[in-house]
Symmetry: D2
Subunit: 286 residues, 4 copies
Amino acid sequence: MKIGFIGLGIMGGRMARNLLKNGFNLVVYNRTKDKSLPLLEAGAEWASSPRELAKKVDFLITMLSTPEVVEQLAIGDQGFLSNLPHGSMWMDCTTVHPAFSRKMAALAEQHHIRFVDAPVAGSQKPAEEGQLLFLVGGKREDVVFCEPLFKAMGKQHIHLGDVGKGAALKMIFNLLLGEAMLAFSEALALGLQLGLEKSTMLAILLEAPITAPFLKDKREKLENEVFETEFPLQWMQKDLQLASISAYEQGLALPALNVIKEVFAQAKQHGLAEEDFSAIFKFLKK
Amino acid sequence: MKIGFIGLGIMGGRMARNLLKNGFNLVVYNRTKDKSLPLLEAGAEWASSPRELAKKVDFLITMLSTPEVVEQLAIGDQGFLSNLPHGSMWMDCTTVHPAFSRKMAALAEQHHIRFVDAPVAGSQKPAEEGQLLFLVGGKREDVVFCEPLFKAMGKQHIHLGDVGKGAALKMIFNLLLGEAMLAFSEALALGLQLGLEKSTMLAILLEAPITAPFLKDKREKLENEVFETEFPLQWMQKDLQLASISAYEQGLALPALNVIKEVFAQAKQHGLAEEDFSAIFKFLKK
Amino acid sequence: MKIGFIGLGIMGGRMARNLLKNGFNLVVYNRTKDKSLPLLEAGAEWASSPRELAKKVDFLITMLSTPEVVEQLAIGDQGFLSNLPHGSMWMDCTTVHPAFSRKMAALAEQHHIRFVDAPVAGSQKPAEEGQLLFLVGGKREDVVFCEPLFKAMGKQHIHLGDVGKGAALKMIFNLLLGEAMLAFSEALALGLQLGLEKSTMLAILLEAPITAPFLKDKREKLENEVFETEFPLQWMQKDLQLASISAYEQGLALPALNVIKEVFAQAKQHGLAEEDFSAIFKFLKK
Amino acid sequence: MKIGFIGLGIMGGRMARNLLKNGFNLVVYNRTKDKSLPLLEAGAEWASSPRELAKKVDFLITMLSTPEVVEQLAIGDQGFLSNLPHGSMWMDCTTVHPAFSRKMAALAEQHHIRFVDAPVAGSQKPAEEGQLLFLVGGKREDVVFCEPLFKAMGKQHIHLGDVGKGAALKMIFNLLLGEAMLAFSEALALGLQLGLEKSTMLAILLEAPITAPFLKDKREKLENEVFETEFPLQWMQKDLQLASISAYEQGLALPALNVIKEVFAQAKQHGLAEEDFSAIFKFLKK
C-alpha cells in the first residue's frame, strides 16, 4: 500500500513523519515544497501536484487548513479525486463541518473512492509523539481498513458513526477550545482591572476544577504575552464559523458561540490572525 | 469568642456545622428558622433577628444569597452593624462584587467593626467535608485573626490583597463556571443535532483536556435531564450580572460574558430560575 | 419576448400579475400549483416544471425563498439553466448573498445565459401596486435590457454595479430591517416591564426620529400581538444568516448582527418560524 | 420664583438660556465656571457651589452627565437637598434609570422637596430652539406646576405616570438611538466590504423606511469620518448600561442590547469615548 499525504503543516508534517517511522511508503505534496524537505530526506517521495500524487497512491490522507482548500485540491481534472485509482481510500483529517464531509464522501463515491472523515484531537506535541486521538466517521469496514494508519499516528481512534460524525465531534472540540480560551481571557482581563495579579490568578485558576486543563499549556503565553503560534487564531475563527453554519443548518440557536466567533473575528481584524489563538487575551485586556 | 452565623442555606448550614464540630460557640440566624434546627440540636444558639444575634457575638459570618440581602440585614437600627460590639470582626462569605465589599468595609469601619471578604470556592460536598477554599480580601492582621475559622471550615485560604480582592476572585470563579457550563451545553446541543449520541459525547468530552473538570459532577444531570439544584440558575445569573457591572465600572468590555448572562436570564424567564444552573442545557437544546 | 416566472409567493405572485397587467406574455411555475390559479385565469400559461418553463421562454424571473431553492431549480438536467435558449436573460429577484449571485452568474454564463441580480425593496403592498424598488447588479447592457420589466413591476431601479451588488444592498436592507425590529421589540419589552403603557409607547416612539418608519406598519401587530405573516420570521433569520456569511467571507466582524440572528433563531426554535418577523416581540417580552 | 440650574453642558447651557429668554430669574452652577460665562453676561447669577445655589432658589433643574454625578451633588451637608427650602421643586432632566429617579424622589421627600424626572428627547439644535420634548414622571400637581418651564424650554411635555416613568422612556429612546446607530454602522461596514460605495449607500438607505430619520443628521459625519461630538460615545455607553441594569432589575433578558453596549464599551476602550457616538462606525469598519 502506498500512502499519499497532502498538507504538511504543523500537524500534517508530524503525522506524515510518524507514518514513515512506522514503515509506510509515503508520497507527499504541499503547496510550498520547503515544508516537505525533512520528509523527503527521511525517505518520502515528492509529487509535484495533487494530480501527480493521486496517480501514485492507493491511500490518500489530507490534512489541510479549510474546507475550501480541500475542495479546491479534490475536484476538477487536476484534482486528486479524478486521478486516484478506483477503490482507493481517502482519509480527510482536516477540521471541517460534517455537511462538508458528507459532500466530499458523495463526490468520492462518484469516483469510486472510499471516504472516512478522521480529524484529530491533540496539538503539536501529541502529533509529534504519535499520541493523537482520531475522531472517525465512515463505514465500519472502511474504518477498520484505516486502523493501521490510526495506530501509526495516534494513541486511539473512536468510530462515532457514519460519514461526518468524526468531523462533527472535532468541530465540537474546537468550539469548546475557543469558548474556554475566550472565557479564560475575559476572566483574566477582569481580574487585572480589579487589582488581582496575573501570576496569582494563573496559579489559582489553572489548578481549579473550573478551568479546562489545556489552558495550562497556554500559561507561559498568557504570563509573557508573547503568543507564539501553535494553533493560529484565524483557524479557530474558521472553526467557530463552521460550527455556526452547522448549527444554522440544524435550526439550532447558539448565542454564545455566535458572539464568541465574532470576538475572534474582531481580533483577526485587529491584526492577530497569525498569532496563537490565545492572543485573544491581548485583544480583550485593557 | 462567640461566633454569629447568618445564612444557613446549602453552603452556610454545612459551614456552620463544621464550626460546631471544631468546638466553636455558635449563635445562628436564618430567614426561615427550620433550616437551623439541626444546628440547634447540635448545640448552636438561636437568635430571633440579626440585631439579637449581633448583640451576643464578637465575630460574625454571613453567607447570603445576594449583595442586596447582605445590605438589608447589615444597615439600619435593626441591622447587625449597629449592634455588634466595637472591635468585632465581620467575615462576609457571600458571593458579591468587590465594590460592594469595599462599601460594606467602609460602613463597618464607621461602626468600629473589622471586615474581611472571604467567599468560598467549592460546592456542597467540600462545604460538608470542611474542604472549602477561602478567597480572602482584607488587612493582614484581620486575615490572620480569622485563620482558626478558615481552618475549621476549609482546607486552604488565600489572602489576595486588601478588601474586595476575595470577592473579585470569587466572582471570576463563577464567571468561569457559568461560561463553561453554557459552552458545554451549546456543544452538547449541537452534537445532538448532528447525530452524535449524548452518552458518547459525555464519555469523550468529559475526559478531554478541553473540558473543565467540574463538569464531570454535572454528568448525571445532563444524562438524565433532571437538574436537581446544587447551585440555582438564578444565582449564577446574579453572579454574571455582578461581573458585568464590575467590568463596566472598570471600563472593560466583556462581550462573551454579557451575552452569556443574557442566556441565563432568558432561561430564568422561561421558568428555570430555581433549577440547577446546568439546566441551561435544557433551555438551549432543540 | 416571452417571460417565465418561477416563485409565486406573497411577492412573486403580485409581481407576476403586474407583468400581465402591462401586457407581457407570461409562463409561470410554482412548487404548489394552486398559487398560480389567479394568474392562469388572468392569462398566464402554466409550465409543469422549471425545465418545461425554460424551454418556452427567453426571459426568466425567479423570486424564491432561499439560495438553496434557487440552486436546486437552476442546475442539473432538469434545471432551467440547461433548458433556456442561448442568449436568454435570467433575472434573479430572490434575496440571496452576493457570492451566490456571482456563482449563479458564472453558471449562467457557461450555459450562454445572461444574468442580473435584482432583488426588491418593498413588501406586499408596493409589490401589488407596482411600486417596488429594484436593487440591481449586472452588466450595463443587461440592466438596460431589463428596464421594461422593472418599470412594469416597480417605481424605480438602481443599478449598483456588477453582478452581486444588487444582492449585496438587498441583504443590507434586510439586516437593517431585522435589527430595527429586534431593537424596537427589546425597547417595548423593557418599557412594559418598567410600567409604561404599550399604546403610549407606540404613539410616542413611532413618531420619533429614532424609529425607522417601516415600524408604523407593524403597529397593529404589536398592539394586538397577533402577527399575521407578511414577511416570515424564518426568512428574516435566513437573510441575517446570509449577511453573517458574507461578513465572514469578507473578514468583517459584525457582533450585533451575529447575536440578533441568533435571537431570531431562538424564536424560530420556539415555534415562531411561520409568523411575521415582528413576532420576535412575543418571544422577547416577559 | 427663582430657578437654579446645575449642569451647563451642550444641552443644559442651551436650556438655561431659553429660561433667561423667557424672563425667568436664574442662578447657575457648573463644575467648570467658564461654561456659565455667556449666561452670566445674559443676566444669570453665579453660585459657587450646589449648596450656595440651593440656598438662593426655590426651583432646581439638574442636567448632568450620570446618575453618580447627580447623587454626588444632591446628598450630604454640601449637597443641594439639605439646602433647598422646604417645599421647593427639583426637576431632574439628566438621563438616568427609573430606579435612580425613584431613589432621588424618596431622598427629596425626606428633605420636604418635591421631585419630577423630566429628561428630554432632542439634541443640541432643538435644545437651542426651545423645541425639546420633555418625558415626565411625577405627581400630577407637580407636573402641572412645572409647565411654565417646560414651555420655556420645549415644544411639548408628556406626563407618563409617576416618578421614574420619564426616566424610563428616555432610557428607551437612547436604547433605540444606540441600537440604530450600531446597526447602521454594521450595515455600512458590510456594504463597503462588498464593494458598494458609501455615498450611494447613504443616499439610498437614509431615504428608505428601514432607517431611523435621525441618522440623516449623522450623514456628514459618516461621509467624512470626522465625528465631531454632539452626543459623546461614552454617554451612550452609560445609557445602554443603565438600560441593561433596569432590565436585570425587572428580570428581563435583552440579548441584543447587552451585546451592543459591549461594542460601545470596546470602542470606548479603543479611544473613542469623547467622540460622537456615531464614531462607532470607525470602530467597526475594516
